[in-house]
């Protein structure tokens, strides 16, 4: 086995020292060899447990001053949910046994940090146990600018207000060349890295995402993952890596692609990204999440054989991918997630946002769980 994968590459992967060249080579070997290798590393890192989280997405507004060319959700004057309306959704989530609410929105022109703190405080006052996984690095950066305080201070205040973790979104591809094309007014690569580092320093773990399949090169994808690995080496604050294929419908970047005869990444390419990320993150980030919203339930399930170990959240509502042409639904039940996981011959386990309460079930080595 692994005849096309050199021994020294395998060794470096096991030591958590895969290089960019290693990753590029893995994209060229027969895909089944890559998948089987990633599957072995998955087994070593987390064993047979496959996790999911019962959560709810709440997008509090589609209004956004951003100019990202890949977005099909943004509006100029969309309604902004009031705190009471957000709370109503949180109450529904709580009734549906959600342990996490994931709250994000557009960038509002004149809304400062108070607004975000207000959301977190209202939720914690009524539901102290509810995990608040909210606000992207871009939103935090934007709010801190409007409130004229440093990002570091903004993060400290959010933490005090009850923010538990942040989604590592707004990362897109961490390359300033790519960002200039697809999201020119967003924070630059170095700024994203800095906000995430500061969040970890403030005791706020984050996830990390990568939105791929538009204008970036394979090397830029790998660089993106290596940037995240460097952050993790320094802070240990990243809970999971979530590769997200770009949806090319109803947005300018996608429409341009389709005119050129390019479409959403095919399944084979998605699986290779998941597998390579497992290899690159081995020894650093243990959890690789397959997004059923982007991949579809069937491919997300099969990706469990190619390096992934988490199926993400039940969501309850998902408006952002849907506006960009995703057609895989907005909700999945716990029963269906467990069906998918059993069907892969694995052990399903509900997790918290911080992957707590799962390691005792994982076979193989003990899990390293970021704790603060």
């Amino acid at each position: 086995m692994n005849s096309k994968i050199p021994e020294d590459l395998i060794e470096r992967a096991h030591q958590g020292k895969s290089t960019k060249e290693d990753a590029l080579l893995l994209l060229e070997v027969p895909p089944f060899e890559l998948f089987r290798f990633a599957d072995e590393l998955r087994d070593l890192a987390v064993g047979d447990t496959v996790t999911y989280v019962v959560n709810r997405n709440i997008n509090f507004t589609s209004r956004c001053v951003g100019t990202c060319g890949f977005c099909a959700f943004r509006t100029n004057n969309g309604k902004v949910l009031s705190i009471e309306e957000i709370m109503e959704k949180v109450r529904e989530a709580e009734k549906a046994n959600a342990t996490e609410v994931c709250i994000q929105g557009g960038l509002l022109p004149d809304v400062g940090l108070d607004f975000y703190q207000g959301i977190a405080e209202a939720i914690k006052a009524e539901f102290p146990e509810m995990h608040i996984h909210s606000f992207s690095p871009m939103e935090v950066y934007h709010a801190s600018r409007i409130s004229e305080i440093p990002v570091k201070e903004a993060l400290r205040r959010l933490k005090r207000s009850g923010l538990d973790t942040m989604p590592g979104t707004a990362a897109e591809i961490l390359s300033d060349r790519v960002r200039k094309i697809i999201c020119p007014s967003k924070i630059k690569t170095a700024e994203w890295v800095e906000v995430v580092r500061q969040a970890h320093a403030a005791g706020i773990p984050t996830t990390a995402t990568m939105m791929y399949g538009h204008v970036e090169t394979p090397a830029e994808r790998i660089d993106h993952m290596l940037i995240i690995r460097e952050i993790q080496k320094e802070t240990g604050g990243i809970t999971e890596f979530v590769p997200l294929p770009f949806m090319p419908y109803n947005n300018p970047v996608g429409e341009k692609m389709i005119r050129e005869g390019r479409y959403a990444t095919p399944g084979l390419e998605d699986l290779k990204i998941y597998a390579v990320s497992r290899v690159l993150f081995h020894g650093h980030v243990d959890n690789i999440q397959a997004s059923w919203v982007k991949l579809g339930k069937k491919l997300a399930q099969f990706s469990l054989h190619c390096g992934t170990n988490d199926l993400g959240g039940t969501l309850m509502e998902e408006s952002i991918s849907r506006s960009a042409g995703a057609c895989h639904g907005e909700m999945i039940t716990v029963d269906e997630l467990e069906w998918m996981i059993h069907g892969a011959g694995r052990i399903p386990k509900e997790r918290t946002t911080l992957y707590r309460g799962v390691h005792e079930l994982a076979s193989g080595s003990a899990r390293r769980i970021p704790s603060f």
Binding site: Q301, C327, G343
Partner: protein, 387 residues
């Protein structure tokens, strides 16, 4: 089966040898399904490469549903309606015309079975399409529809097929096969033709010079062995007649129909991706040297998994379709249209060579390509405004 696998040593040599000779046994198939899925996929992929090479085909076609009225009682159907519609011959011709303008080389014409649709009605449809559009392949009717209409018109199935052939029917669809097991059929489609009647009808079609494809609808009440028996039954028919163009494994969609609702209530959902890929791979192996074309249908699998299935034994992506109300009614969420350009993108992304085909897997030259529509599903409204 639910896709469970245990790591075991590589596939035994004699199993591989039998597969290569087209003599895979049921025991072989069961063993392959218990092994590492990547080993199964690799074997299927090698057999695919040795029979059809790197070409991956698709067909620009249109589904036309004659009627949603049906006297059937199939518990898996979410399409049937009491107060349904029946298209007139003119309406069918208009849809065919639209399809032709959009570059289609095939119309797939099917519907429910209902007293209004007798042999005369079907023959008129086929003749009208053939005389209006002589170069369009007519892939139409199921063994069930032919049986029912032949009965209504008081003729034998053989006579009905002969008349259909004379009217211009190029290919009979291999649908209404579901699972070819009378135990299963009693549960999910008690009013339908039996396993033997399905086999007899398909065999008679081949004898009458009408090609058919074959299908399997899996993932409901059948056992793993029943699934495999079904594929072996197809192999037996093919050995006798050679009239089967392809096998299309279709995963059952459990939404909005009684069988599905019962499944969901008992905590069973649609087949997982692993299971879908395993069936495609094992079908390739069982049918090797007999049926060369295994289709991965994006309507049921989603585009991404259908593309990946090309690594696991599939060599065809089916049709552009333009409308698929049947899967949509059962909760299929993958859209109703894929453009030729997107098929080519998917196929090239698998490192293969795209080829447009017709119903009978004949190569179709360029110049028939459909203009791009931006949104899958919007195509019906767009079709009227084709230049």
């Amino acid at each position: 089966m639910n896709g469970m696998y245990v790591k075991k040593p590589a596939i035994p040599d004699d199993v591989i040898e039998r597969a290569q000779q087209g003599k895979c046994t049921k025991e072989d198939a069961l063993l392959l399904l218990e092994g590492n899925p990547f080993e199964l996929f690799e074997l299927a992929n090698e057999l695919r490469a040795s029979t059809v090479g790197d070409v991956v085909s698709y067909v620009v076609n249109r589904n036309i549903y004659i009627t949603n009225k049906c006297v059937g009682t199939c518990g898996f159907c979410a399409y049937r309606a009491e107060e349904g519609y029946i298209l007139s011959v003119e309406e069918i011709l208009k849809k065919t015309e639209e399809a032709r303008e959009a570059g289609a080389v095939e119309v797939c014409v099917q519907g429910g079975y209902t007293p209004e649709a007798d042999m005369e009605f079907y023959l008129e449809i086929i003749e009208s399409i053939k005389s209006g559009f002589p170069d369009i392949c007519i892939h139409a009717l199921s063994p069930m529809e032919v049986n029912y209409a032949a009965g209504l018109s008081g003729m034998s199935v053989e006579d009905a097929l002969r008349k259909l052939k004379k009217s211009g029917l190029d290919s009979l669809t291999g649908t209404s096969a579901e699972i070819l097991s009378d135990r299963v059929r009693k549960i999910i489609c008690p009013g339908k033709i039996t396993t033997q009647q399905w086999i007899d009808t398909v065999t008679a079609a081949h004898r009458a010079g009408i090609s058919t494809n074959s299908t399997i609808m899996y993932g409901h009440v059948e056992t793993l062995e029943e699934r495999l028996d079904h594929v072996f039954t197809i192999r037996e028919i093919q050995k006798e007649t050679g009239g089967i163009s392809e096998l299309i494994p279709m995963s059952f969609l459990p939404y909005n129909n009684p069988i599905g609702e019962k499944m969901l209530a008992s905590g069973k959902f649609t087949t997982t991706g692993l299971e879908d890929l395993q069936l495609i791979a094992i079908s390739r192996i069982i049918l090797h040297t007999h049926v060369n074309n295994i289709q991965a249908t994006w309507v049921k699998l989603g585009k991404k998994l259908a593309q990946f299935a090309l690594q696991c034994g599939a060599n065809d992506l089916g049709g552009t379709l333009m409308e698929d109300q049947i899967s949509t009614a059962s909760g299929g969420s993958y859209g109703e249209y894929v453009s030729p350009a997107e098929f080519e993108w998917m196929i090239k992304g698998a490192g293969r060579v795209p080829m447009q085909r017709d119903t009978l897997y004949r190569k179709v030259g360029p110049g028939l390509s459909v203009r791009e529509g931006l949104l899958p599903g919007y195509v019906i409204s767009k079709m009227g405004s084709k230049e």
